[in-house]
Subunit: 252 residues, 2 copies
Amino acid sequence: MAKKLKDTRLNKMPRTAKNTQTKYQKVEAIIRQRLIDNLWRPGNMLPSEIQLATELKVSQGTVRKALNDMVSENLLFRRQGLGTFVSEHTERRALFLYFSIVGNDGSHILPESNILSCEEKLVSPLERSKLELNVGEMVVQFRRIRYFNNISTIVETITLPLEHFPGFGTEMEPPNNLFRFYQSAYGITVSKAEEHLKAVIASPEEATILNIKPGLPMLEIDRIARMLDGRPVEWRVSHCDTRNYKYISERG
Amino acid sequence: MAKKLKDTRLNKMPRTAKNTQTKYQKVEAIIRQRLIDNLWRPGNMLPSEIQLATELKVSQGTVRKALNDMVSENLLFRRQGLGTFVSEHTERRALFLYFSIVGNDGSHILPESNILSCEEKLVSPLERSKLELNVGEMVVQFRRIRYFNNISTIVETITLPLEHFPGFGTEMEPPNNLFRFYQSAYGITVSKAEEHLKAVIASPEEATILNIKPGLPMLEIDRIARMLDGRPVEWRVSHCDTRNYKYISERG
DNA sequence: CAGTGGTCTAGACCACGCG
DNA sequence: GCGTGGTCTAGACCACTGG
C-alpha cells in the first residue's frame, strides 16, 4: 500500500487514452483518501470550495463537481451558508439509509437490541468468502435479538474481522447502533451494503428465542457492509418476523 | 388541471421566498412535461443542449444541469458524440432496474411467463387505496406464473386501472415484458416503484400452481409502480420461491 | 469533417447562517 | 457584514460519433 502518495498537486498531463481520469475525479480521489485516512473526521467541516480549489490548483467548479458527486454517495453533506461536512452515522442515517424494516403502517422505528452471545474464533470457509479474509484469520461473532416496542422481532448473527475490531465485545458491550460505534471507536465508516433476501422457516431455536411458533415464515436478510475503500467489514444475517413489519425498497 | 401553461419562455422574476424554483428546475419541469405529453417518445433524441438553451433562453450550463438530473433519475440517457435520448423499457432495463430477483450465484435472468387468468372488475377498497382510484372505477386483474429455465418459481397477481389500459388483456395476450408494453401500446412510462417485502407461507392454491409443497416459505413482493407524473399505474403482488433465487438490494 | 456531449475555467450574483 | 454554498452565465477546449 501507499503507492502514489505525492499527488497533492494535480498533474497537468492532458487526458489521453492512457489517462482517462478527469480533474474532478482526481480531486474526488484525493478527498476520498483523506476520509479513509481520517484526516477529516465524521461531523467535521471541510475547507471551503475556494480553499480546496486554491490548494489543488483547480477552479471552484471542479471542486464543486467532485464534492457534489460525494454528496450523492452520502459521504458528505452540505448546508448552505455553513459549509460541507463529513457524514456521520447518526440515528437518522441508520434508520433511513441502512435499516429497511418499517411497521405495516410505514412508521420508522429503530429497534432496541440485546446481545445473546459473543465469541472470537477462527474464520470458517463461508465467512472467509463473505468477508474476503485469508485462511487462519480471526473473526468476532455475536448474536442479538432486536425489539420493537419490547416485542422481539429480529434475531441477528453478526460476524466481524477481528483485525479491524481489536477487543470488540470483550472490553465493552456493543451498543445498539453498531455503525456509529464502528465509526467512533474504530474509525471505520460503513459506506455501502448489499442485501440478499430470502424467505425461510424459523428454526426451533429461533422460535424459542423470539417466542414464536416454530415453522413461522421469516424474512432472511443477508448483508455485507463495506467501508470507504470498498472492503467488506461486517457480515450480518437477520431473520425477521414480518407479521407486523415489512422490508421496503425503492426502484427506478 | 392545465393551470400555468404558457411557461414556454422562462420568466425573469428573481427567486424570492415565494418563488423557490430555480431556472434549471423550471427547465427540468418543462422537459418532464414534454415526456409526459409524449412529445418526445422513448428512444427519440432530444434537441441538443445548445438548441434547448436557445429555445428556453437560458445558458447551456443550465440546460445541462436539468438534463443531468433527469439522467440520474433514469428518464434520459446520454451518449457522447450522439446526443441525449429518452429512456426505453428495454430488456436490460427491466432486468437491472425493475427486477431484483437473481440466482443464488448472482446471475441475472428474466423469467418467461404464462397468464393464468384475466378479468375486468369493479375496484375493491384495498385496490382503491393501493392505486389511488375512486369508488366505482374499473380495474383489470390477472395472474401469471413466471418460470426460470422452465421451472415455475413466481406467481404474480397484477392489477391495473382500466382507465389507462383500455382493452387490456381482451384484445391480445399481455407479453412478458409488461413495462415495455405499457410504454409502446399505451404511452405510459413506469419511472419509479416502491416494493414492500414480507415472508409468507405458500397457500394450497399457490402450491398446486407452482408444484411445490404447501407451507413452503415464500418471499412476497408487494409493489406499486408509478408513471412519470407520480400516479400509481400498477399494483403487483409476487410470491417467489426463494430456494434457488434471491432478492437483491443495494444500500448506501 | 461537423455536431454532439464532457470538462474546465472565471466571474457574477443570490440565499443562507451566524455573529 | 461576512463567509459559505447555490445558481447562472459565457466561452474555451476535449473526446466521441457518424458520414
